[in-house]
């Protein structure tokens, strides 16, 4: 059965409130009917409160139990819905480390998250789902490269920003004295740099957009297509 090789953590985790974490995990190990070699190390690593009834635990402490049960049997695939919600920043980092280790071990983690920052820092590949349809799948880096980048140019003298705005795929975001901040599609970069080169350039920084902007951009495109 495929579920033997899967670890699952629901977005809205519900446990047996009257049990302690130890009893809950014991019961889940029995239900799985297989060894849970990682259980104790995970409990220790995340600092699970083992001997208090679950109903007395905070959201974060319950979430830890959910993470332990999803990983304790060394699953080939972990399917996790918002796994770090309710956890403090230190634990979030620890849990992300756990994901990276799992991936490095040749196993797979499916992570669903609304925190795009988390996705950007954790995931190798990203799928974007909109109204139940998968609208894009790509490596995080590729997505970022494909997307617009933010270009800041500092010129020696004041420059008329209209000449950049006239370029295809370039938008002027801000002009401040002699520095100009633009956003440009990958295809427009060549023309942009050449236009800039007609002036004395003091500094030029180009940064890829973060995942959040890509996400919003994809949603806008999909909206337009509808």
């Amino acid at each position: 059965m495929a579920r033997r090789r899967i670890g699952y953590l629901a977005g809205d985790l519900r446990l047996s409130d009257r049990l302690t974490a130890r009893e809950q995990l014991d019961s889940l190990v029995r239900l799985r009917g297989a060894a849970a070699p990682l259980r104790d190390t995970l409990c220790e690593r995340l600092g699970v409160e083992l001997d208090r009834p679950i109903r007395e635990l905070s959201r974060g402490n319950r979430q830890k139990i959910g993470i332990v049960q999803a990983f304790m049997h060394r699953p080939d695939l972990a399917v996790l819905d918002e796994p770090t919600s309710g956890l403090d920043p230190l634990l979030q980092a620890e849990v992300r480390t756990l994901f990276r280790e799992t991936a490095a071990d040749g196993r797979t983690v499916f992570l669903s998250s609304h925190s795009l920052d988390e996705v950007q820092h954790t995931a190798d590949r990203v799928g974007i789902i909109r109204s139940g349809r998968l609208i894009d799948v790509d490596r995080v880096e590729t997505l970022r490269e494909r997307a617009i980048r933010h270009v800041s140019i500092v010129f020696a003298d004041h420059v008329d920003p209209a000449q950049f705005a006239a370029l295809d795929g370039v938008r002027v975001e801000r002009v401040e004295n002699a520095s100009v901040r633009l956003s440009a599609a990958e295809a427009a970069m060549d023309a942009l740099v050449k236009a800039a080169a007609r002036h004395r350039v003091v500094d030029l920084v180009s940064e890829p957009a973060d995942l959040e902007e890509i996400f919003l951009e994809l949603y806008r495109e999909a909206d337009d297509a509808d």
């Binding site: 579920r3 629901a10 809205d12 519900r14 446990l15 889940l28 239900l31 799985r32």
Partner: protein, 243 residues
Amino acid sequence: MAAYVLLIAAIFPSIESSKELDDLMKSYPEPLKELFGIGSGSITSGPGYLDAELFSFMLPLFVLVLAIGSGARAFAGEEDAGRLELVLSYPVRRSHTVLAKGVAIAAEVVILCAVILVALALLDPVFGLDLAAGKTTSALVGLAVLGILHGWLALAVGTAVPSRALALGIPAALAAAAYLVGGLHELAGWLDPVRVVSSFWWIGSSPLQNGARGWGVLVVAVAALAVLAAATTLVDRRDLKVP
């Protein structure tokens, strides 16, 4: 419950000596006596008294409340609380989960009935109830089967529809109807043809005096197993409601 049984049994010696009560009861029409569990015997005998006070209403009510409550909690209640999602993400078949829950419900009912049986056996010599061991055992087997049928019904309704209210309500309504049909069919002749759908009728009335009807217990047990079997297939036919 054991305390209630004790209380009822403790009152018995004062009933036993009451000749007037016996005469009053004898004047009741036969079907009415049937309904109140007095049967053909006498309310001043131990079995007759306990049939009327415990087995005609309170004990079945108590066992059914417990069984239906457990049955509804086991699946519909767990789904409602969002706890089934985790369990069913584990490598277990849904049908096995339902079977395991069915066994747990049955075990609960059987333990309860065994406790009542032991309580009656212990109280018998103390209050001079004069119970027949075979009939008492058969009465509690009948009661247990009745409880299991309705507990499994509650479980089955929960596997078919994601509603705790229905899982409680349907078996409770069926039990109430079966109780009334079983008790009143002799009084109301038009109910007579439908008495075969009443689980209470199959088990029979006044079980301490008559023993539960052997064939009837078997019929109810088979019905219970059919309900459980239905539950194991129904559970695969729908999506789980998740929080």
